[in-house]
């Protein structure tokens, strides 16, 4: 399959599939974040499950994480991956039908998978809750994603493979690997299977998967987005290209070892835990190298902020990226983990990354991408600015509430009486948490409100407009044609 000329004989980028994926990820934004807000409310008022199993925390929480990570996050990564790989290779997707198949199949598997979670079908592995039939379809769709992406790279018209493609490529390969290995299971019925791993091995494989999903999907994949869209926003090259490539390989090498830090003080070998601590701390270097690269790229492009409301989202996302990638290694250190593990501090940490980094960089990218897809100006810059403040306030309220709750929980659980028994029962500690959860709910509602404003803004921008047909530019000698 090669890129077919259109009716006028010219070759154009395939951007309709990008637009479709952007729209789908916006739908998942509302669904996933609303589910998050609802379960946050259930932590305060459990009775709002109305005794309906499908409305219970256990089911809705899995729906929330799957919808935001795999619905919102992966759809955004596919959209931006397809958009950027065409432009960095100077050719349209060579397999447009396969790209459409991937995009539609992915939406269907997340939709049906989400419904299966509501029905109580759950494999019992965090962030890998979908049962074996879905796992197989996910693996197949993911391979299709890889074929579309790497076929474009293989037919590129420029010799060099730009750094964003290394990160997107790393995302595709590593997620395929961890998904297949972690999902290996013996089916018992159509919707029930048993992992082929048992006990401690199961836990280690699960967190090798879980942590590298955070690493290569929520960090690496989104860094691919950053490396393409930040220089585009800023209209200047990345500050240090060399640093970006070194950071990629250092990141890839060190991330893969860090998973067992989720299992500190558990029944896995001590050396495995300690190795995870060391690799987690080393990981800070490549993570921050990218942050510095991003900040220095944008610092010379401040004039763009006057005309580009989207850039500030990316700038702020870098600050939260810096926080999350520092806090993670710190929480992997055993003395800190002794307090933070099993507390809401972890939830706060995850959301400083998920809201502050992942969501903000996607928002910034979409404010840039949507007008360009249809050749129009953003409907309202003012709304985008309001969204910026709502996103910042929502994220800060959320993570501060969880820091307060988490550190209190950790210290109270470690508090012993004169007989060496815990001074406070788990039940008593949790019973005192609703005020913090109310604060978290307020933060979540503010953040969701901002996201809804953005969706309205982007809808009004794209409404009634055709996707632009853009031709790849000629490859000059400076770009080293293949």
């Amino acid at each position: 399959m090669t890129a077919k000329p259109m009716d006028d004989g010219a070759v154009y980028y395939h951007d309709s599939v990008v637009r479709f994926l952007v729209m789908c990820s916006l739908v998942w934004t509302v669904l996933g974040m609303s589910a998050g807000v609802y379960v946050a409310a259930e932590m305060i008022w459990p009775e709002i499950n109305f005794d309906q199993p499908w409305l219970s925390f256990g089911r809705l929480r899995a729906l929330h994480t799957n919808a935001v990570i795999f619905g919102f996050g992966v759809s955004a990564l596919m959209a931006t991956g397809f958009y950027s790989v065409q432009r960095t290779c100077h050719i349209p997707l060579p397999t447009p039908r396969l790209a459409w198949t991937t995009a539609i199949a992915w939406q269907l598997v997340i939709l049906t998978g989400g419904l299966s979670l509501l029905a109580g079908i759950n494999a019992g592995k965090e962030y890998a809750e979908l049962e074996w039939p879905f796992d197989i379809v996910i693996a197949v769709v993911w391979i299709l994603f890889g074929i579309v992406f790497f076929a474009t790279i293989a037919r590129r018209r420029i010799k060099q493979i730009y750094v964003s493609n290394w990160f997107y490529g790393g995302l595709i390969i590593v997620v395929a690997m961890i998904h297949v290995v972690n999902s290996l299971a013996m089916p018992a019925t159509l919707f029930k299977s048993y992992s082929i791993y048992a006990g401690a091995q199961d836990a280690i494989v699960q967190w090798w998967y879980g942590h590298n999903a955070v690493g290569f999907l929520l960090t690496g994949g989104f860094l691919g987005m950053l490396y393409y869209f930040l220089p585009k926003h800023a209209d200047r090259p990345i500050w240090s290209y060399k640093l970006s490539v070194v950071a990629f390989w250092a990141f890839t090498y060190s991330y893969i070892w860090a998973g067992p830090h989720h299992l500190h003080f558990n029944a896995i070998p001590d050396w495995v835990q300690n190795l995870a601590v060391v690799m987690s701390v080393i990981l800070l270097a490549p993570s921050w190298a990218t942050m510095i690269n991003g900040i220095m790229t944008v610092s010379g492009a401040w004039r763009k902020l006057r005309t580009d409301p989207a850039l500030k989202f990316i700038v702020l996302s870098l600050a939260f990226y810096g926080l999350a990638t520092f806090e993670g290694p710190m929480m992997a250190i055993k003395s800190v983990n002794a307090v933070s593990h099993f507390t809401d501090w972890t939830i706060g940490h995850v959301h400083s990354g998920a809201l502050g980094w992942n969501a903000l960089i996607v928002f910034g990218t979409y404010y840039f991408l949507a007008p360009r897809l249809v050749g129009a100006k953003l409907y309202s810059v003012r709304l985008a600015n309001v969204h910026f403040w709502l996103a910042l306030a929502g994220t800060m309220i959320y993570i501060l509430a969880m820091w307060g709750a988490g550190v209190s929980q950790g210290l109270l659980w470690l508090s012993l009486d004169e007989f060496g028994e815990p001074s406070f029962s788990f039940k008593d500690i949790m019973a005192s948490m609703p005020p913090y959860y109310l604060l978290r709910l307020v933060g979540g509602v503010i953040f969701l409100t901002g996201a809804v404003l953005m969706i309205f803004n982007l809808y009004m921008t794209m409404k009634g407009r055709e996707t632009l047909r853009i031709r790849p530019p000629e490859v000059g000698s400076v770009q080293e044609p293949t």
Binding site: W302, L316, F320, S335, V339, G404, L411, S423, L439
Partner: protein, 212 residues
């Protein structure tokens, strides 16, 4: 010229003294843009006191009621432990204020804002003001209630940072936005580092006993 400078320093000092910073922050930042206060003067006149107030409130509140972390019974520290923690709190705040001023001056070179250290110190003082005054809530030592008051104070301080930094340093709002975001990154990391060091020391038995 010198008279004018001194007059501006004086005006800036009066602004903070009169709590204008809480109600008319823009005027304070505009004053600061015109003045070059001495770093020692800002340090001794404002920062030391701003660093002293929160530990003092925390000490008084903790001694009277003990800290409620969420459970029914408060965490009551002995007099000596409370003194030790409050002293550390004071020192940490001092280091935080001064280091943030130095980091701000270091970062400002990237954004072409070459103002003396005293201006950065004064800016830190203005940003710290809402949180310092908000820390009066330490007199009621319940962690959640403290969060309820200090979160809006922090968000207000962040707003002041974004709105006031470009005015005080005399750079464009766009460059100011970039530098303010970099400073937010520094503050978040510094805060979480402090949190990490504190709980690690505490978990290893250093610091006050959290037993009954």
């Amino acid at each position: 010229m010198n008279d004018k400078k001194n007059n501006n320093v004086h005006r800036k000092g009066r602004s903070i003294f009169l709590l204008t910073v809480l109600f008319r922050p823009r005027a304070v930042f505009e004053d600061l843009a015109q003045s070059e206060p001495s770093p020692y003067r800002v340090f001794f006149k404002f920062l030391v006191w701003f660093a002293l107030l929160p530990p003092l409130f925390a000490y008084l509140g903790g001694r009277r009621d003990g800290w409620y972390l969420g459970a029914a019974n408060p965490l009551v520290l002995s007099e000596s432990e409370l003194r030790q923690v409050s002293l550390l709190y004071f020192l940490v705040l001092l280091v935080a204020f001064v280091s943030t001023a130095f980091v701000s001056r270091w970062m400002s070179e990237t954004y072409d804002a070459r103002r003396p250290l005293g201006v950065h110190m004064a800016m830190v003082a203005i940003l710290a003001a809402p949180v310092t005054f908000g820390s009066a809530i330490h007199l009621y030592p319940h962690v959640f209630i403290n969060l309820l008051v200090l979160i809006p104070a922090l968000i207000w301080a962040m707003y002041l940072l974004y709105a006031g930094l470009p005015v005080a340093l005399g750079i464009s709002p766009e460059r100011g936005m970039l530098m303010a975001s970099s400073l937010v990154g520094w503050l978040l990391v510094a805060f979480v580092t402090l949190l990490g060091i504190t709980v690690a020391l505490w978990a290893n038995g250093l610091g006050p006993s959290i037993g009954a």
